[in-house]
Symmetry: C2
Subunit: 348 residues, 2 copies
């Protein structure tokens, strides 16, 4: 099969080659009549035409590609974030190459090598750990980075994160209003800013609300995953800890609690209430529907993409960090504590 | 910050540079003592060392990168598939760059341009449509392609797909055994092989089971998405169609049915049973837990990655297509039809 040329596309669309070229280039498309542009794109699609991006990037010295580093694509939090970033990048004629590190530093190093050697114009990074030498190195080399969801210490790059202090405070206040006085926290890993920030906010919130501020009621999970959440709740229960509600570090940790409830025949919310964090897809359809903190997932991605494009367009610009508002969504996994709750956990 | 060199890594790990180099290269790592390799990788990570993959690929003429084309990353089917592929590729020292096309042919064309111009060694493609000129073009250009989940007509490349005929037959037989005689099918888009194959299998299965084979009971959904599923079920109900069970093209279409049930106060499974397809994460935790066809998501990805690596290693090899077995998982969304069911839908 002969490779179709720009001329073939122009002929099929019944336009001049220069017009076809302008229509195919996202930077110049606006200069072409919208109906004509549509016709050219359709002709290109049906012929299987592909522009030569190496030739184009040699001319413009720009690859129009951005890398997205995700810690774990099977966490349903990330696909909507990626979608938000992707949509903004795509509108601007950029393509996003996504890389999932599986929380493995060596895999991350290889993926970054692969992206950077392919001249991505910048990185949107959701894998940040508080101590993250690879990111520091990339930043020192002048690679444009925007952090998303998590921050890193000692790394002066822009970030877009949910307002975790507000989210955790809303969760604790909701439980206190329901009458809970002994609330446990299943914290995310303290190697991540979200784990530390949500834990700190939890301590502040229980103290401010005048309910139990008991270090015994806080357990750190190894990963932001269901099985880590199940293990952490199991630890608390086996220890005979006295609590009637759980603030989970994220929805997956809260889902791990659902697993333990099912295994041990604990009724949620009658015996233990639980609140998640993030409001990932399907939380409204669970049994019971999960009370959680909604974070604007799509906007996190879109805002990070806008920020990165801003840094690419004006390299001297140093945007600050953006904190996006979060909201409590009350569903069925929280209720007033049972009257005999004080001795419940201890009696197990 | 000075960029760390191979020598720095070797010194930090207390080994010779040649050893460090072997340990850092996945192809030669096995030649190094495992404990030494771990020390070198740890030193590389803590120094933020990155190999120069362009130099390496100039030497070997291989980029060790593979592209994964996904139609919609927010469909929870795909992250586990990506994970399966990623794990196999990673073990072999490959990195996977993931691209989500959002079912948009123009975006797909740009993403493919971006991947191919960055010399990926092959593509794993989950976006195939039955008529797909871009894929035909890529194949004609000699780019190695393995199709996953879906096939394309007139494209002679290997594929890894679930055994859809078996899956749909199991679904129909389960409903017939429960006593259903009028079963509807909310089909996936007929632009995809999965949409066509599952629809065809449905017609065969109802005929073979001797229950209603009524074209009125089949509605094609525009996308493999919840809102398309909700719209299709709404159409059937508004039309007064007579049915007591639904075989949905995939889990998201079945989730769209859940939405309609909630809106219209229809009880599932008491009034209408529904079966999904794929067994995406969390289907076991829904209200009601969803009966669905489980497909081996991780294995689909892993098998496709193995196939692609096989084609890369032995360019003359032409592996056939692989059909992976699927299993019915009975949960709470299917039950025997109510006695008065014959007139139920019509009376709405």
């Amino acid at each position: 099969m002969r490779k179709p040329t720009l001329k073939d596309v122009a002929e099929a669309a019944g336009v001049h080659s220069a017009t076809a070229s302008r229509a195919l280039n996202p930077d110049t498309r606006a200069a072409v009549n919208a109906e004509t542009a549509r016709r050219v794109l359709k002709a290109a699609e049906s012929l299987g035409y592909r522009a030569n991006p190496i030739a184009r990037s040699l001319k413009t010295a720009r690859t129009r590609t951005v890398g997205l580093l995700i810690p774990d694509l099977t966490n349903p939090l990330f696909p909507p974030i990626v979608r938000g970033a992707d949509d903004v990048l795509s509108e601007r004629g950029y393509t996003a190459l996504i890389a999932s590190t599986d929380n493995d530093p060596e895999r991350e190093r290889r993926l970054v090598d692969s992206l950077v050697s392919r001249q991505v114009e910048g990185l949107i990074v959701a894998t940040a750990r508080l101590d993250h030498p690879l990111l520091e190195q990339l930043h020192a080399e002048g690679i444009k980075i925007v952090l998303i969801n998590r921050r890193s210490e000692s790394l002066d790059v822009p970030s877009v994160v949910p307002d975790d202090a507000s989210g955790v405070t809303q969760a604790v206040e909701h439980l206190v209003q329901l009458g809970h006085t002994r609330i446990a926290h299943l914290a995310g890993p303290h190697t991540t800013s979200t784990g530390v920030a949500r834990s700190r906010a939890f301590r502040h919130a229980v103290r401010d609300a005048g309910v139990a501020d008991d270090a015994e009621l806080i357990v750190e999970c190894e990963y932001w995953q269901e099985d880590s959440g199940a293990a952490a709740l199991g630890t608390l229960l086996d220890r005979g800890a006295d609590f009637t509600a759980v603030v989970a570090g994220n929805d997956l940790i809260a889902l791990g609690c659902y697993d333990v409830f099912a295994e041990r025949g604990i009724s949620c919310p009658d015996e233990i209430s639980v609140i998640g964090y993030n409001d990932i897809p399907l939380m409204d359809k669970l049994r019971p529907p999960m009370t959680t903190i909604h974070i604007p997932q799509f906007d996190l991605g879109a805002e990070a993409a806008r920020m990165l494009l801003g840094c690419i367009d004006e390299p001297s610009r140093r945007p600050g960090s953006v904190l996006l508002p979060v909201t409590l969504v009350v569903r069925g996994s929280t209720a007033a504590p049972a009257l005999t709750s004080g001795s419940r956990a201890g009696s197990r």
